[in-house]
């Protein structure tokens, strides 16, 4: 087992474990924290796959900005383990079973996928660097890049409409 495999397993276990903790934790704040841990693990994967830029952005945008926003909202609402609504046991069971089944089915469906044996060589190549990404983004992908600005505009207007007081 090479170092990269060890790292892979470590990060995978970390991601899965913390993801599970996100949904298990009673306290919303803990959930947020566990989710941040998950994001770190995922960022680790990104970096292992030479997607350095994405790894960093993931940390900054997700783990940083977005999750802080979540945390902020939760704090604002003063949510904690006591106020956390509990679901009917059966429904919860049903949810878990359904999720598990879906996992089984998906894995079973994809277990003999056509790309199964394709290797993903770790720590090699440079497409994940900001330079490459940037040049492609501003040439081939300039249209979606511009269009996403519309998305942001609409999100902004939306947030304003929703947040505006007094009507």
């Amino acid at each position: 087992m090479s170092i990269s495999e060890i790292l892979f397993y470590f990060l995978s276990v970390m991601a899965l474990g913390s993801a599970l903790m996100v949904i298990i934790s009673r306290n919303p704040v803990h959930s947020v924290l566990w989710l941040i841990v998950t994001f770190f693990a995922i960022s680790g994967h990104y970096i292992m796959m030479n997607a350095q830029f994405l790894g960093i952005v993931n940390l900054i945008v997700y783990a940083g900005a977005i999750m802080v926003l979540f945390l902020f909202v939760i704090m604002l609402m003063n949510l904690n383990a006591e106020t956390e609504p509990k679901k009917n046991k059966w429904l919860r069971m049903a949810g878990i079973v359904a999720g598990g089944c879906l996992l089984l089915v998906l894995v079973a469906a994809l277990k003999d996928a056509e790309v199964r044996t394709s290797a993903v060589q770790l720590v090699d190549g440079d497409i994940g660097l900001i330079k490459q990404l940037g040049s492609v983004l501003f040439t081939d992908y300039v249209v979606p890049f511009e269009i996403s600005s519309v998305l942001f505009l609409s999100a902004m207007v939306g947030a304003v409409v929703i947040g505006k007081k007094g009507d």
Partner: protein
């Protein structure tokens, strides 16, 4: 003069015009004008009929085409009239007797309100029109038109006094029973079309004669003749469809005379006589016809023994006499049957009109138990009625004797049992007729309290003159058919009708069919003697018994069964009317409502029920929505990946 035949269309047209005038202007015309128009048109028809008869007698017959009625593909049905021996005899009887009855009616119905009086004459004219169509038609469809037309007029006239529910019931019954027969007739027509591709007599009969060998006894010919006979049983009141005729007495008495004695009810005989060649080739049908006729004759006679309504007795007598005619047809005595139709028309019309005169004189009393001794008050009526009774009883040389004898002789030739029953029936006929006569005219007058002091009176001349004319005809009418044994070559009717039945006879010889053996002279004398003897004994017994001690009480025992007509009406009610009603109710209340409608509405209810259930899926909970979505995805994956296609 040959062209007279071409004028045959006038015969039915005149009554039709009378009908239209009387019908449309019924409120404007005065009563006398109405009766003049009503009777006059019939008289006109009679005159034309007479002229035509004379032509026919010289051998001029023919078919008069008026217009093309229905023509579809190969089937062509012309509206055309057939003038030949058979139809001309019937024309004479219908228009002649019809005219007398019209004249009679003018007096009999005089109490009716003007509008209804005109209505009556309109119906009567329409009837004559239909009857003439029936006998004149040169094909089965025209005959059918007349056939149903007379049924309609019979319906209208029986229900003439429409305020009375019983009368309208009787009218309805008559129509429906006739319709049952009509269905048989119709099916027969269809079958004829199927077999021969035509309904025109000449065409059909020619084909039959040409293919006599193959057709003889075939299913088609037996089916057709049986179905035609079903039609005849309806119209001519034979078992099992006879019950309407006695009820039909609800109509005015002249109607009973015209329709239910002299003309319409003999349509069945006319039809079978017309189709004689078909029947000749269907021996099994002939047996059926003979047996049904004989049974009806005997059966109706037994019922007539115990009836107390003057018209009912005559009605059953009519049924019985019609049975005789069918017996004649069944044993192949076509001429005899037609002969009997003719004589019967005379004496039965006479008897009915006489009865009408009695009723008129008795101020609408019909129960013979309240009569008696009318001889004194109504001499003309009495005399003519007596002559009629003798004629029907079959006493020589009155007309009934000759025609009845001819049928009985033929019956003897076919089957001796037929003859025995026939003679017994003839005895019963004589008995109940003279029972009627004696109870009504002899003895003491018993109806004082019913007349509130009034005396019965003789009817006016308009009524008595037809009686006299008919009485004369009843007496001498039989002389056109004096049997061979009494006077050779005197049976002018047989010679006259020969062309009609000739082909039948030829076919019979060709196929070696012997419908009946003609009895030898000695036997024939003996037969005549026996039947006359039976009749005479019955007459004397009846007169002796009923002139002094008429039956006034309610009958008991077997008499009650007879008085109640063997409970046949009740039987029909129980086995046909009630089950049919019940079936109708069952279908209406159960099948229609609880099965079909329920199913239809059930589909709607099911949809709204499932709507109520399905919408519960829409629980409002995001969790359950997502869960259902995930389950859906799961299902898709399972189907796509793990279900083997």
């Amino acid at each position: 003069m040959k062209n007279v035949i071409q004028l045959v269309w006038l015969i039915p047209l005149l009554p039709l015009i009378g009908f239209l005038i009387n019908g449309v202007f019924r409120k404007q015309l005065s009563k006398s004008l109405t009766s003049i128009i009503g009777s006059g048109v019939i008289l006109g028809s009679f005159v034309v009929s007479l002229l035509i008869f004379l032509q026919v007698k010289q051998g001029h017959t023919g078919v008069v085409d008026l217009f093309n009625f229905i023509s579809v593909g190969k089937l062509s049905i012309p509206f055309s009239f057939q003038v030949d021996q058979l139809s001309s005899i019937f024309l004479l009887v219908i228009t002649g007797v019809g005219f007398l009855i019209h004249v009679y009616s003018a007096a009999y119905m005089h109490e009716e309100e003007g509008q209804h009086y005109a209505r009556y004459f309109a119906y009567l004219n329409l009837f004559v029109f239909s009857m003439l169509l029936l006998v004149l038609g040169s094909n089965y469809v025209i005959m059918f038109i007349g056939w149903e037309g007379v049924g309609l007029c019979s319906y209208l006239l029986i229900g003439y006094w429409f305020k009375n529910v019983d009368y309208t019931n009787a009218a309805k019954k008559a129509f429906v029973m006739n319709r049952i027969g009509d269905l048989g007739f119709l099916l027969a027509i269809f079958w004829i079309i199927n077999q021969f591709g035509s309904v025109t007599y000449s065409n059909v009969f020619e084909q039959v004669a040409a293919n006599a060998k193959t057709l003889h006894g075939s299913a088609a010919i037996i089916g057709i003749t049986l179905l035609l006979f079903v039609g005849a049983t309806g119209k001519s009141a034979q078992i099992p469809l006879y019950t309407w005729l006695p009820d039909a007495m609800a109509g005015p008495t002249p109607v009973s005379a015209l329709i239910h004695a002299a003309t319409m009810v003999t349509a069945g005989i006319y039809m079978i006589a017309r189709s004689n060649i078909l029947y000749t080739l269907a021996p099994s049908t002939n047996t059926v016809v003979a047996i049904v006729g004989l049974a009806t004759a005997a059966f109706a006679a037994t019922i007539a023994l115990k009836q107390n309504d003057i018209k009912k007795v005559l009605a059953y007598s009519t049924v019985s006499q019609l049975g005789y005619m069918f017996l004649g047809l069944g044993v192949g005595a076509y001429t005899g049957a037609v002969f009997h139709v003719m004589t019967h028309a005379f004496f039965k019309a006479l008897l009915f009109l006489g009865a009408g005169s009695v009723i008129h004189g008795m101020h609408h009393e019909q129960d013979i138990r309240h009569m008696g001794g009318l001889k004194k008050y109504m001499p003309i009526t009495h005399l003519t009625f007596l002559l009629g009774c003798i004629a029907i009883a079959g006493i020589p040389p009155f007309s009934g004797f000759f025609s009845k004898d001819e049928i009985l002789a033929a019956a003897y030739g076919a089957n001796k049992i037929y003859w025995i029953i026939g003679v017994i029936t003839a005895g019963m006929t004589a008995f109940y007729m003279f029972r009627l006569y004696a109870t009504t005219f002899l003895g003491q007058f018993r109806g004082g309290e019913h007349l509130h002091g009034h005396h019965p009176h003789e009817s006016p001349a308009a009524m008595t003159i037809p009686l006299i004319v008919l009485a004369i005809l009843s007496v001498i009418g039989g002389w056109v058919g004096i049997p061979e044994v009494l006077m050779p070559n005197a049976h002018s009717l047989e010679h006259f009708l020969d062309p009609i039945f000739k082909r039948s006879a030829e076919v019979a010889t060709q196929l070696h069919l012997h419908t009946h053996d003609h009895p030898d002279h000695t036997t024939e004398y003996i037969l005549m003697g026996v039947s006359v003897g039976v009749a005479v004994i019955a007459i004397f017994y009846a007169v002796a018994r009923f002139s002094k001690r008429p039956e006034l009480g309610e009958p008991t025992g077997f008499g009650k069964v007879l008085a109640n007509k063997w409970y046949v009406d009740e039987l029909y009610n129980a086995i046909i009317v009630k089950p049919l009603n019940w079936l109708g109710k069952f279908l209406n209340n159960f099948v229609e409502r609880d099965v079909i409608d329920w199913t239809v509405n059930g589909v709607g209810k099911m949809i709204s029920y499932s709507s109520r259930q399905v919408r519960l899926l829409q629980s409002g909970q995001v969790g359950s929505y997502v869960l259902l979505m995930v389950l859906g995805i799961l299902a898709f994956f399972v189907i796509q990946f793990f279900v083997k296609k």
